[in-house]
C-alpha cells in the first residue's frame, strides 16, 4: 500500500505544479525573451529529428503496408492508408514521444543542473521569480511548438511514403496526392494535431517538475532526465487514449 500512497503523493505534486504553470501563464509579467529562447530550443532544434524520423517512418510504413495490401489486391489504398494513419495517429503520437525524448530529458537535466549548481537560488537572490522565469516559458514553448512539429512530421511522412511508393509502383505525384487526401477530412487533421498541445503541456510540466524540484545534487541530474522521459512518454500514451475518446465524442464522423 505504501507505493500507492507514494503514487498519489506524486500525482498530487505534479498536478499542483502543473496548475501553478497554468495560473502563472495567465498572470503578467510575461517572460517573452525567455519564451522566445525556449521556442528556438524546443522548436527549431527538434525540427531535423522530426523531419528525418517522419520521412523514414513514412517510407518504412509504406513498404509494410504494400506487402500486406498486395495480398488483397488493394495497393491503390496505400496513399489513403498512409495519409490517414499519419495525420490521425502516427504523426501526433510519434512527434510527442520524440519530443519527450529530446526536449523532456533536456529540460529535466538543465533544470536539475541549475538546482544542483545553485543557479536557481541565484535567480531567487536577484528577486526574480525562478518558476515564472524558468518553468513557464519552457512549458509554453512545448505547448506551442509540438503542434507545428507534428505538421512537419505528418508531411515528412507523406513525402517518405510517396517516394517509397514511386520507387515500387512508379505512381504519379498527382494521383498519389489525390488518393491520399480522398479519405482525409478536416476533423481527421485538426483535432489530432491540436491534441499534441496537450502532449506538449505534459512534456513541459512533467520534465520541469523533475528538474526544478530535485534535491539530490549531481545524482539528481541523471535521475531527472530519465524520469522526465519515462513519465512524460507514459502520460502521453495514456492521454492519447483519453483524447481520442474526446475527439470521437466531439467529431463522431471520425470514429467511423
Amino acid at each position: 500500500m505504501r507505493w500507492l500512497s507514494r503514487l498519489f503523493e506524486f500525482v498530487g505534486k505534479v498536478g499542483f505544479f502543473s496548475l501553478q504553470v497554468l495560473v502563472d501563464t495567465l498572470r503578467p509579467p510575461f517572460e517573452f525573451a525567455q519564451f522566445s529562447r525556449q521556442l528556438t530550443e524546443v522548436g527549431n532544434r527538434s525540427l531535423a529529428l522530426i523531419i528525418v524520423s517522419g520521412f523514414a517512418l513514412g517510407a518504412v510504413m509504406t513498404l509494410h503496408t504494400r506487402s500486406t495490401l498486395v495480398t488483397f489486391g488493394a495497393t491503390a489504398m496505400i496513399p489513403a492508408v498512409q495519409a490517414v494513419s499519419f495525420f490521425v495517429e502516427i504523426g501526433p503520437l510519434v512527434a510527442g514521444l520524440l519530443l519527450a525524448g529530446r526536449v523532456g530529458s533536456g529540460i529535466g537535466a538543465v533544470l536539475a543542473n541549475m538546482r544542483a549548481s545553485e543557479q536557481i537560488d541565484a535567480i531567487e537572490s536577484l528577486s526574480i521569480d525562478s518558476f515564472r522565469f524558468l518553468v513557464v516559458p519552457r512549458v509554453l514553448a512545448c505547448v506551442i511548438a509540438l503542434p507545428f512539429l507534428t505538421l512537419f512530421m505528418d508531411f515528412a511522412g507523406l513525402i517518405g511514403g510517396f517516394l517509397s511508393e514511386v520507387l515500387s509502383s512508379h505512381i504519379a505525384p498527382a494521383l498519389y496526392l489525390n488518393r491520399a487526401f480522398d479519405y482525409l477530412q478536416w476533423s481527421n487533421f485538426i483535432a489530432p494535431t491540436l491534441k499534441t498541445a496537450v502532449f506538449g503541456f505534459i512534456i513541459g510540466s512533467v520534465s520541469s517538475y523533475f528538474g526544478y524540484t530535485t534535491d539530490k545534487g549531481a545524482q539528481g541530474v541523471g535521475e531527472a532526465a530519465t524520469n522526465s522521459v519515462v513519465v512524460s512518454s507514459l502520460l502521453i500514451i495514456v492521454a492519447d487514449v483519453l483524447l481520442i475518446k474526446c475527439i470521437f465524442f466531439l467529431f463522431p464522423d471520425t470514429a467511423i
Binding site: 529562447r37 537560488d121 541565484a122 535567480i123 531567487e124 537572490s125 536577484l126 528577486s127 521569480d129
Partner: protein, 246 residues
Amino acid sequence: MIANHSAAVEFKRVMKSFGAKRVLSDVSFQIGQGQALCLLGRSGTGKSVTLKLIMALMRPDSGEVWVDQDNVVGMGEHQLSLVRKKLGYLFQDAALFDSLTLYENLALPLSRLTKKSKDEIDDVVRRVLTDVGLGTDSAKYPSALSGGMRKRAGLARALVLEPKILLADEPSSGLDRITASEIDELLLRRKTEHGTALIIVTHDVHGARRTADRVAVLDKGNLVAFGSVDEVSQSENDVARRLITE
C-alpha cells in the same frame, strides 16, 4: 517589523533543522553596517545555511533574521524582493547562468530590477567587470572561464546592484593563494570604499585575518565563539581556537 537598531544583519535565537538533523541551534549574533564578519567552522556546521537564511532562500524553524531594518522571517515574496535588492550573494561555485554570457549575467538583474536604459546598463556592466579584472571577457560564457575568473564574475554579479550587504560563500575555495588574495582584496575594497557590510563563509584563516572585523565560529549548529580575530584565538572553545590558530 521595524527594528530599532543599526545592525546590517542580526540573528535572534535562530533554529534550523533538516529532518532530524539540527543544523543551527539557538544562534544569535549581529554585525554592524560597513563591518565584515567571517563565519568559520568545520564542514556541515550550518555556515552556508546561515547565508541562505539571510537571503531568505530558506526559512528558519524559529527565531528572527533581521536584514537592515526588516525581519525577513514570514515575509511575503513582494517584500522579500525589496529586501533582496539590498543584498548581494556570491555563491560557492559562483552559480553563473550557463546559458548567458558574462555580460548577460550582469545585465539581467539591472534590466529586471532597475529602470536603467540600455546604455546605462552597458556602462554599469563594463565598469563592474573592469573592477574585477574581467573587462575584456564580457562576451564569454561561464564554461569558458577558469575557476578564479568564475569567482570574480560571480562577485561582479553580486555587486552590480550596489548592495548594502554582501554575502560570500567560500569566495577563495578551490583557488590558489594569489587568486584567493585578489578576491579578498576586492571584498576589502568594497567594504572600505563603499561601506558594504560583508558576511563571508570561509575556511581560509589568512583571508579571515585580513578582511574580518568580527569572526563567528559555528560548531555542531552552535555559535561557539564570536569576536575579533584576537578574541577568538584566545577562546576557551577548543574548536574555535584551533580553527583560527592552526
